[in-house]
C-alpha cells in the first residue's frame, strides 16, 4: 500500500535506549575496572543480577503463610527471623531482619526515608513508589493519608506504627490472617499474600468467593 504524504507526521520519538546517564556511565566504568583487575568476572556479575531477579515476594509470602499456620514457627520468626526463615529453606544472606506483627491493635508500615533499604532477599526488588520522595517523605508525616491512597483504611482506635529503616535493619510486616481462610492450605494462604501487605501499605484481603 502506498503511503502518500497529505498529512503531517508526528516528529520521531527519541530512541529510548539512549540511557547513558551519569550513574550508568559510572557503573560501567567501575564494573569494567573490577573485571580488568580480576576482582570479579563478567559471569559473576551476570549471575548476581540473575540471583537478584530470582528473588520475588513469593519468598516472603511463604514465610507469612507458615507463620499463620504454625504458632511455634511464628514465635521463632519474631524472636530469631534469620534462623526461622533458614529452616524453611530461605537464606536471607547478611540481612538483619525485624519481623513486625500486625495485631488488632497495631498496623505496621515500613519506609526508608534516607534511601530505599528493603528486604530484597525476601521480597525481591522494591517497587518504584517505595523509592519515590513522595512516599518516603509523606508516610512518616501523614501515614494514614498515604495508606488511604493505597485503599487501606485503619480504624482511628488502631495504632499506625511507621518503621523507618535508617541503618542496618530490614523489615518484614507479618499481616493479619484474613477471615474466611480457615480451610485453606498453606500454599493457598501464601497465594493471598501480596508484596504490598508485607511492606504494610495494604492488608491481606480475604479470598474472592467463587
Amino acid at each position: 500500500m502506498s503511503h502518500t504524504h497529505d498529512h503531517e507526521h508526528a516528529p520521531p520519538r527519541p530512541d529510548l535506549d539512549d540511557t547513558m546517564t551519569y550513574y550508568r556511565v559510572m557503573e560501567e566504568a567501575v564494573r569494567s575496572l573490577l573485571i580488568e583487575k580480576g576482582i570479579v568476572t563478567a559471569d559473576e556479575v551476570r549471575r548476581e543480577v540473575e540471583n537478584m531477579d530470582a528473588r520475588t515476594p513469593a519468598n516472603g509470602a511463604q514465610v507469612v503463610a507458615r507463620a499463620w499456620v504454625d504458632p511455634d514457627f511464628r514465635e521463632q520468626l519474631v524472636a530469631n527471623p534469620k534462623q526461622a526463615i533458614g529452616e524453611i529453606g530461605h537464606d536471607i544472606g547478611p540481612m538483619h531482619l525485624v519481623v513486625l506483627e500486625n495485631t488488632p491493635a497495631v498496623h505496621n508500615v515500613v519506609v526508608c526515608t534516607l534511601c530505599s533499604c528493603y528486604p530484597r532477599w525476601l521480597l525481591g526488588r522494591p517497587p518504584d513508589w517505595y523509592k519515590s520522595r513522595a512516599y518516603r517523605s509523606r508516610v512518616v508525616r501523614e501515614p494514614r493519608a498515604v495508606l488511604r491512597e493505597f485503599g487501606t483504611e485503619i480504624a482511628d482506635d488502631r495504632e499506625v506504627r511507621v518503621h523507618d529503616s535508617t541503618a542496618d535493619m530490614r523489615y518484614l510486616v507479618l499481616p493479619l490472617r484474613p477471615d474466611g481462610t480457615d480451610g485453606l492450605s498453606e500454599a493457598e494462604l501464601a497465594a493471598l499474600v501480596g508484596r504490598d501487605s508485607m511492606i504494610g501499605v495494604t492488608e491481606v484481603a480475604p479470598p474472592l468467593r467463587a
Partner: protein
Amino acid sequence: MSRFAVGDRVRVHDLWPPTPPTHVRTPHYVRGHEGVVERICGTFGNPEELAFGRRDAPRETLYRVRFRQADLWPGYDGSAADHIEIEIYEFWLSPAGQ
C-alpha cells in the same frame, strides 16, 4: 556494653550542620526529640566512618527508638496512639532531659 537499656528515655542530638560534614543516618525529623529505646539491635560499623572508607573505626551500638507521632509533627492529625520507630546510633543519643 550499651549505654542505654530498653525502655530508657533518650534525646536525639540536634546537630545541623554536622561538623565536619559527614554521611549521616539520623534524619532531621527526629533530631532534638525524645523517644524510648524499643530494642538494642547490636553493634555495627559506623556509617559516618564507612562512607569515607575508614573500615577500622570502632563499631557502634545501634538502637531502635520509638517516638510519638504527636511529638514529632506539629498538628499531627492521626491517632494519639501512632508512633514511629527508627534506628539510631548511640553517639547520636543522650539521656532524655539533657
